[in-house]
């Protein structure tokens, strides 16, 4: 049994050295090539001072190099931090300094975009292979960077000549070492880094391998971005099984008909994505004209799948097994539900199901008791080896969310408070009811409305602001901001959207901005969000 994620690769290299491990943008790496490339990168990172537990950021579009870098960092004992290649440089800069990143793998234009960000901790930046051609003919400046940071700039081909056969062997890996950090939206306006250990990831991967029987002849998709935890399934279940991962090209992520063709052409058998991507596939994917007989399993997670579209999807692909997976980044997936096709036509709500293997979940009601009666609602808690050790550099936040399990008095252990309200069903499954706080999902992205509000409030012309979520069948939620400017400030909706664009990812920019003289308040003087949502609903209909 593997205790370190890199062992999943080692095992498959022995069985299938020449088999394709990953395909992206028409390029491939065999298992042997992936092993060799990641060994070389591990030596490069070690030469550059990466030691056990050091953070290395991966800041470039998804490619075959992504996998080699993830594995290379872990083989050097480091912790990789996947960064959204489309995020504003200011947010990336915050993440770099927050986790005191030692190295970066990136592209030249992104490195330049970070010129004004705080990258003082970064000692080296490796440019990706796509840039290698430029470095050879001298158009890329390599060597020590300027005072703005980014450290020494190293071309990709520096790995050539480094040992291919084995990674550095000068440290003792354990399963509780950190493997990667995933940054998610934070309610106070700053993203927070969820730390995940090898044990955390492997708990999930081993359950998947068993439950979904991923085989060497399977072809999986890489749909989710690598900074999103759905991709953990794609990458590591592929490696675990000795299967092949097909990174979905950008145009297929955008155009549903192109995605349908891609699934057919690449003979994809297992795919995992957010429901809104599947809704677009149902509505615009021309699935009826596609031959998808290779497809056997669709997994989805990240948001609630609207029943009417799930029923349509099930009807279009009657041979495919459908699974609803649930879990915050802090636990990866913790519950699951296999869609029962016989019952589906009568179902009004899709359960999140029950706990995955090696994980326990329970709901805690307002009286601080475990929920045992069907029909009762409580906050979902998760315990077991899948639970994160906490948030990087934030002991306070960690103590609030990863709490002592007071229902187990015999030894110290932690449980994660999801903040999600669930109801226990008669059959033992759970239904998701909603959130305790202001976190929402839009197109599967986890968004803290507080982070959007903080971005808007940082505009000097803004006096009050509230970000609200308007429920929507296609995308989960649409984001609206209601803003009261300072008296006489000529601020416009467009100003505010552009202001947000330099601070938050694009998917967090409010689609609608309404300007008002003041915001409605509750009797306790807080902004009345319930009323704002109700008024926005009425205005739309």
């Amino acid at each position: 049994m593997a205790y370190h994620l890199t062992q999943l690769l080692t095992k498959s290299v022995e069985r299938f050295p020449e088999k394709t491990a990953v395909w992206a943008r028409g390029k491939t790496l065999s298992y042997r090539e992936l092993e060799e490339r990641s060994n070389q990168l591990a030596h490069l990172f070690r030469e550059r001072g990466v030691k056990k537990g050091d953070r290395v950021g991966l800041y470039f579009p998804k490619s075959i190099e992504s996998l080699a870098c993830m594995l290379g960092v872990m083989k050097a004992g480091g912790v990789y931090v996947p960064l959204d290649p489309a995020q504003p440089a200011s947010r990336i800069g915050y993440i770099i300094s927050n986790c005191a990143m030692k190295g970066l793998v990136t592209t030249l234009d992104r490195l330049k975009a970070l010129a004004h960000a705080d990258t003082r901790t970064v000692e080296f930046s490796v440019l990706t292979e796509a840039e290698a051609a430029g470095a050879e003919n001298g158009t890329i400046p390599t060597g020590p960077a300027g005072p703005s940071g980014g450290g020494d700039v190293i071309p990709w081909n520096s790995v050539s000549g480094l040992p291919v056969s084995r990674p550095p062997a000068d440290f003792q890996p354990t399963t509780t070492d950190l493997a990667y950090i995933l940054y998610t939206s934070g309610s106070t306006g700053r993203p927070k880094g969820v730390m995940l250990s090898h044990a955390n990831a492997l708990t999930f991967i081993e359950w998947c391998a068993e439950e979904f029987r991923i085989r060497p002849d399977d072809r999986l998709t890489g749909h989710a971005p690598l900074h999103f935890d759905l991709s953990v399934f794609d990458v590591y279940n592929t490696l675990e099984a000795g299967a092949t991962l097909y990174m979905i090209p950008d145009d297929a992520l955008l155009f549903p008909a192109t995605l349908g063709k891609f699934l057919e052409a690449k003979e994809i058998s297992v795919t995992y994505c957010v429901p809104s991507a599947l809704v677009h596939l149902v509505l615009h994917g021309s699935l009826a004209s596609r031959d998808l007989h290779h497809l056997r399993t669709i997994l989805f997670a990240g948001e609630v799948f609207p029943m009417k579209y799930l029923k349509q999807l099930a009807g279009m692909i009657p041979h495919v097994e459908l699974y609803n997976l649930y879990g915050p980044t802090e636990t990866n997936v913790c519950t699951w539900y296999r869609v029962d096709r016989a019952r589906l036509p009568q179902m009004e709500r899709l359960p999140i199901g029950r706990a995955c293997a090696n994980t326990e979940v329970f709901a805690v009601n307002d009286r601080d008791e475990r929920v045992t009666t069907p029909g009762e609602t409580g906050e979902l808690y998760v315990r077991g080896p899948a639970v994160t050790p906490g948030y990087w550099g934030d002991a306070e936040k960690t103590a609030k969310m990863v709490v002592p399990n007071r229902f187990q008095p015999h030894f110290d252990e932690k449980a994660y408070r999801t903040g999600d309200l669930v109801t226990l069903r008669e059959d033992g499954d759970y239904d998701f009811i909603g959130r305790r706080d202001n976190q929402i999902k839009s197109r599967g992205y986890r968004i803290e409305l507080g982070e959007i509000e903080a971005a808007i409030l940082s505009h000097p012309g803004v006096r009050e602001a509230a970000a609200i979520a308007l429920p929507d069948d296609e995308v989960g939620n649409r984001i609206k901001a209601v803003v009261a400017p300072h008296n006489g400030d000529p601020i416009t909706a467009l100003d505010l959207q552009q202001h947000c664009a330099s601070r938050v990812p694009r998917y967090m920019i409010p689609e609608l901005v309404e300007l008002r003289e003041s915001l409605p308040k509750t009797s306790t003087g807080k902004i009345d969000r319930v009323r704002l949502v109700a008024e926005s609903g009425a205005a739309r209909s």
Binding site: L253, Q497, A501
Partner: protein, 86 residues
């Protein structure tokens, strides 16, 4: 001077780009790789074309080849309008 189809398309695309804090886009720039058009925006654009030019876009036609840039969208619309019965 009456607005051409391309002017109307450019105006619509520029509005989206501005709301995302992106620079002015040129007519042959890739809207899909610079993030102007995302998975939600593409269907807003299709609805806009259908309403403005009174045409019907089939799902199979919503591809990178037809929608990558302002120039390509304009050619796509022109092609649709030519084929449309008077």
């Amino acid at each position: 001077m009456p607005e051409t189809a391309k002017d109307q398309i450019r105006q619509f695309v520029t509005d989206i780009a501005q709301r995302k804090g992106l620079d002015v886009v040129t007519d042959d720039e890739s809207l899909t790789s610079n993030g102007v058009i995302d998975s939600l925006g593409i269907f807003k654009l299709v609805s806009f074309l259908e309403d403005t030019f009174r045409l019907k876009v089939a799902d199979d036609e919503i591809t990178n080849e037809s929608f990558e840039s302002i120039n390509q969208i304009d050619r796509f619309v022109a092609g649709k309008l030519e084929k449309k019965p008077a």
